[in-house]
């Protein structure tokens, strides 16, 4: 299992070379990677269906308890099969859809990287692995939405999706770490066995909220749903793959995965059901504002994700319908939505528009796509004999069992919009005349929709094919063995009646669609997206203000900030320490006092001087005074260096600066400057006084004095420290001086060249 994920990553990295070598046929060849993985995961079916859970892992960062550990049960296997299976058709489809695109090689790379990350995400057992993969899917999604990066709308949609999902990812990280702390393990499989400990823990509510924010942002739940329709700026293969069949289900996956551990409380069920229903209705309502094929499908995806979250919330309250409905509807939605997206892209590719009101008579022009769209639309509408019907019936049974009647009623209304949408999508195929010159696309464009729609029909007619896996999925979600008989006909019961109501409502809404469209599309509806836009705008304005404040471009302002910052920090340290102290006065030679006074006076003189020569003298006096202090205090090396450097500096200033104009009128110092200078000098004096009042530890001095000869083989301790104990530091110092010398040389050399005519 570890190998399969690593192979997927490696294959993705090789994709650009395959494309460079094979050109337009690369899609068919690259599809062998997901196809091979599909076959591999299919080979694991018997073991998983027999009730086994496969675990496999290698150490990654053992010291932190982070491992590449993977875990395969029914739930992760279904997702793995969806990811690799649909991925196969997506790769083939991309080859036809983006044929000749200059960046197609990069596209294959990113979409296969996404597949690998998504695979890692659903197989991960370790929390850190799961999170890393989770963020990788957000990143690859960002790159794919912004694939047409010259378009402003693509870039905006990409950053929006990234901000929302990665922002939720941060919350998820915090939530997962809390869970690990509560359960005492980094492995999800261990946490699943500790559900009672987790639910009774005082952190339960906090961890739950954080995990939910992560899952809701990823799976486009209300109020974070707005990024998903905007993400339709991505090329259609991306919309079909990431934003309907796989990535947006990552949040749903996580909730289903953690259901046995976190579920079973009042807050879990009521929150999930409330937000799921709100999302379902939001997606359904906003459908009536759209005529763009892809955006219509995106809102229907939002609605379906809401239904799935609703179902997970209902799982603990139902005997088995919640879990079974989840399993059936999940597969049905992935199949029909992936197919519908690919078909919509094919229509766009052949006809040149995605506006449903512009399409007509397509069935005659594109019969194969038409059949695929028809079958998928049946599933979308939840009509027999396809899988969508079975899924919806099971969901209705769950809602009837778990939710109050008004919630079920609203859910029926939401599903009715599915019927409406199915009509909106299929009618253009059968009504009117086909546009001129439009014909069926290449096989790569219709293969995916046909196979996916066919699978939906096959499983609908023979539900027994999916039944074992559905039971395994449902057991994983429920946290207890579930055995249920999936079938088309359950006899006359309440869910069937609701289905009938759904269809009638949906058809009714279809006839209202043009009027609703005219009414709802007229004005922008304020929604959570305006909050997002406002937040972003405020953030930019705030950082702009902050930048103007801190990065003013004025040297003086920077220095004031720096020195006042130092004053504040040193002052704080002094206050937190022993406060102000006064050291004992020691013996003082009158000559020394005169020297120090002379230094201070000459420094003060520099404040008033206007001549460069006088400045050189003043600086020289201060420097020489420091050298004499060194000499008096037994630091001969320092004294000689200081004398040399002062002389050299004086020579340099004299050589270079005497050619420059006089300083001129010195503007009077502002009050702030004086304040900054005096407070900085004052805090240094206070610091030194406090320091001198403390005893000094002689350990370091003793260490160097004792080790100098035996270990550094030198008797001049200062020199030994420089070239031996701190040799690397001195090496860095030499480099700096060397570079400064090079800089001086370069600056003067440029001058000489320009001086020549």
């Amino acid at each position: 299992m570890v190998t399969s994920v690593l192979v997927a990553f490696a294959g993705a990295l090789g994709a650009p070379w395959v494309y460079r070598g094979l050109g337009n046929r690369a899609g068919w060849v690259l599809a062998l990677l997901p196809l091979g993985l599909t076959l591999y995961f299919s080979s694991l079916l018997p073991a998983v269906l027999a009730g086994q859970t496969l675990r496999h892992g290698v150490a990654w960062v053992p010291s932190l308890g982070v491992g590449l550990s993977f875990y395969l049960d029914g739930l992760s296997l279904l997702f793995a099969l969806l990811i690799t299976g649909i991925g196969t058709f997506i790769v083939i489809y991309s080859g036809g859809y983006l044929k000749g695109h200059p960046d197609l090689g990069r596209f294959y790379l990113v979409i296969l990287l996404f597949m690998a990350s998504m695979l890692g995400l659903v197989l991960a057992d370790n929390i850190v692995t799961l999170f890393v993969m989770w963020e990788l899917t957000s990143l690859t999604s960002y790159l794919l939405i912004g694939f047409n990066h010259t378009e402003f709308r693509s870039r905006r949609a990409a950053t929006q999706a990234l901000f929302v999902t990665a922002g939720g990812g941060l919350a998820l990280l915090a939530g997962l770490i809390l869970l690990a702390g509560m359960g005492g393990s980094w492995e999800i499989s261990e946490l699943l066995t500790k559900g009672e400990v987790l639910r009774a823990h005082p952190w339960y509510l906090g961890a739950l909220v954080l995990v939910l924010v992560g899952a809701f942002t990823k799976s486009a739940q209300f109020p974070f749903h707005f990024w998903l329709p905007n993400a339709m700026e991505a090329p259609t293969p991306v919309s079909a793959y990431l934003h309907s069949a796989t990535m947006v289900k990552a949040g749903v996956y996580l909730l289903a995965r953690l259901q046995p551990a976190l579920g079973g409380t009042e807050v879990w069920s009521s929150t999930l059901m409330a937000f799921g229903l709100a999302t379902l209705l939001t997606g359904a309502t906003l459908t009536f504002r759209q005529t763009d094929l892809k955006r219509l499908l995106a809102y229907s995806t939002v609605a379906a994700l809401g239904a799935l979250v609703f179902a997970i919330g209902a799982v603990p309250l139902t005997s088995y319908y919640g879990a079974v409905g989840f399993a059936a509807f999940l597969l049905a939605h992935s199949l029909y939505k992936g197919g519908l997206f690919m078909a919509a892209g094919a229509v766009d590719h052949e006809v040149g528009t995605r506006d449903v009101s512009q399409l007509s008579g397509l069935f005659r022009a594109m019969p194969i796509t038409g059949v695929a769209v028809g079958l998928s639309a049946l599933s979308l509408a939840g009509l027999p004999p396809v899988l969508g019907f079975i899924g919806k019936e099971a969901l209705y049974a769950a809602f009837l069992e778990a939710a109050p009647a008004w919630m079920t009623g609203l859910a029926v209304l939401g599903f009715a919009v599915g019927v409406t949408l199915a009509l909106i999508l299929t009618v253009p195929f059968f009504r009117g005349q086909p546009p001129e010159g439009v014909h069926e696309g290449s096989p790569s464009l219709w293969l995916g929709p046909v196979v996916l729609a066919g699978l939906g029909l096959l499983v609908g007619l023979f539900p027994g094919l999916y039944n074992p896996l559905a039971d395994a999925v449902a057991s994983a979600v429920k946290g207890a063995p579930v055995a249920y008989h999936l079938k088309l006909w359950h006899g006359l019961n309440l869910p069937l009646l609701l289905s009938l109501v759904t269809v009638l409502l949906g058809v009714g809404l279809y006839f209202l669609y043009p009027r609703l469209l005219a009414w709802m599309a007229r004005e922008p509806i304020p929604g959570p997206e305006s909050a997002y836009v406002g937040l972003m705008r405020g953030l930019m304005r705030f950082s702009g203000k902050l930048e103007r404040l801190l990065q003013s471009g004025s040297l003086r302002a920077y220095l004031v900030w720096t020195f006042m910052g130092l004053v504040a920090l040193v002052g704080l340290a002094l206050l937190r320490g022993d406060g102000l102290l006064w050291p004992q006065l020691q013996g003082l030679h009158p000559g020394q006092a005169v020297l120090l006074a002379l230094m201070l006076l000459s420094a003060l003189a520099a404040l008033r001087l206007r001549s460069h020569l006088a400045t050189v003298v003043v600086v020289g006096i201060v420097g020489a005074g420091v050298a004499i202090v060194f000499l008096l205090q037994n630091a001969p090396d320092l004294a000689i260096t200081q004398f040399l450097v002062e002389t050299l500096t004086a020579v340099l200033i004299a050589l270079v600066l005497l050619q420059i104009r006089r300083i001129g009128a010195v503007p009077r110092g502002r009050f702030l400057d004086k304040l900054v200078a005096l407070s900085f000098g004052g805090i240094l004096t206070l610091l030194m006084l406090a320091m001198l009042a403390q005893p000094m530890s002689p350990h370091l001095a003793q260490f160097f004095a004792e080790k100098s000869l035996p270990e550094g083989f030198g008797r001049n301790i200062v020199n030994v420290i420089l070239v031996d104990f701190r040799g690397l530091d001195t090496f860095g110092e030499i480099t700096v001086v060397g570079l400064a010398g090079l800089g001086v040389y370069a600056l003067l050399k440029g001058l000489r060249k320009e001086g020549k005519p």
């Binding site: 003043v618 900054v676 005096l678 030194m688 160097f704």
Partner: protein, 137 residues
């Protein structure tokens, strides 16, 4: 002497900072040199004064007490040399700036440089070329 040094360091630092805040870059440089000396004296005093002998090991391997603290001396030696490198580079840089821009006022320089109020990253990449055009031949 230590207490007097504490006041001297404070005084030198105040003068240095005040000079660095002047608009004229020569004053900035002088202030920088003064501040550097103040910092060196601070580190030196932190290692404590009052020794009788320089930090040298005797021929027989013994130490004469009280010996000067060698560690601050090593640190300051590095600081002096680095400070010199920086000062030398600064002197030449300011000289060149004066030749090219005709001013050594830190407040006037941005006006000479700035062609547009808010240069985008692209403009910043292009900036040196326009600067060269500005330099009088």
């Amino acid at each position: 002497m230590e207490v007097l040094l504490a006041f001297l360091v404070g005084g030198l630092a105040a003068v240095g900072v005040y000079l660095m805040l002047r608009p004229h870059l020569i004053q900035f440089l002088v202030g920088f040199l003064v501040l550097g000396n103040a910092a060196n004296l601070l580190i030196f005093t932190a290692g404590r004064l009052g020794s009788q002998f320089p930090p040298l090991v005797q021929r027989d391997g013994g130490l004469l007490e009280p010996i000067a603290n060698p560690l601050p001396q090593a640190l300051i030696l590095t600081a002096i040399v680095i400070g010199f490198g920086l000062a030398a580079f600064g002197i030449v840089l300011f000289y060149r700036a004066e030749q090219g821009l005709g001013t050594l006022s830190a407040e006037a320089m941005p006006e000479v440089f700035e062609p547009a109020p808010a240069p985008s990253p692209v403009d910043q990449v292009e900036a040196p070329r326009s600067e060269k055009e500005r330099v009088p031949a």
